[in-house]
């Protein structure tokens, strides 16, 4: 070993020896929804630019965003936003030093999942009024 003295440090966790729990899945979903919104954000900016430029360009961008695939992407992005927002509040709550007990973490995860689904449906209902 080139570096025998590793310092008086804790070992990093060996992720592969653990069973993935749903709280772990929720954790990586925070990053995945963030990255997904980067893609959706670029599409939305392009749509706004097209609306500002003129009717012909807007027709193209609006067709892309409101096609079948476009609807899937936008509804997916809406859920990603709702999830990231709810889980972000959960993260801010953790940052303030609360909610680290295992039962609390499991419960807040379920609350985040429920609220993100409900918010998505609510916005879709409002949008189609």
């Amino acid at each position: 070993m080139a570096d025998v003295n590793r310092g008086n440090r804790p070992l990093s966790p060996h992720l592969s020896v653990y069973n993935q729990s749903y709280t772990g899945t929720l954790s990586i979903l925070h990053r995945l929804t963030g990255m997904a919104m980067a893609v959706a954000g670029v599409l939305v900016v392009w749509w706004f630019l097209a609306a500002a430029v003129g009717p012909d360009y807007f027709a193209l961008a609006d067709w892309v965003l409101t096609s079948f695939l476009g609807h899937l992407v936008m509804i997916g992005a809406l859920w990603a936003l709702a999830y990231h927002l709810c889980n972000g509040i959960r993260h801010l709550w953790w940052d303030s030093g609360h909610g680290f007990e295992l039962e609390q973490v499991r419960m807040s995860g379920l609350v985040v999942l429920t609220c993100s689904g409900a918010l998505t449906v609510l916005v879709l209902l409002i949008a189609n009024l």
Partner: protein, 126 residues
């Protein structure tokens, strides 16, 4: 208790000194984005698919336009901070890491400012 290895101490590796600023900026923008996201999404979802005239009318309203510009600007700043952490965590080779970090920073400014410009142009008129 020191967590640093002898090698890191000799090489002079340590904190980059701006980590706390990055951490705080991510939290502050996160708090700002909670109300902004809600206020942005509802008029946007109603305007999407309603035709260009409806989009222009929606964002001719100063409240909708200001919320949209604040949301797009803050969201892309928050996005830049978040993607930067993801790149730093997963991209280890020196050249791809540097390229990804620069592309992330420039892309966030490009799309953030373009979005703000587009909404402003709709709000102010052609």
């Amino acid at each position: 208790m020191s967590f640093r290895t002898d090698r890191a101490r000799v090489a002079g590796l340590g904190v980059a000194r701006d980590g706390v600023g990055h951490w705080w900026a991510q939290r502050v923008t996160a708090v700002a984005l909670v109300p902004l996201a809600v206020l942005f999404v509802i008029p946007f979802a109603r305007a999407l698919g309603a035709g260009r005239e409806a989009v222009l009318a929606t964002y001719a309203h100063p409240f909708n336009a200001i919320v949209a510009m604040l949301f797009i600007g803050t969201a892309f700043y928050h996005l830049k901070l978040g993607l930067q952490v993801i790149i730093e965590d997963y991209v280890h080779a020196k050249a791809p890491r540097a390229a990804a970090l620069v592309a992330n920073a420039l892309g966030a400014w490009l799309f953030g400012l373009t979005g703000v410009f587009a909404v402003a142009r709709i709000a102010i008129g052609q």
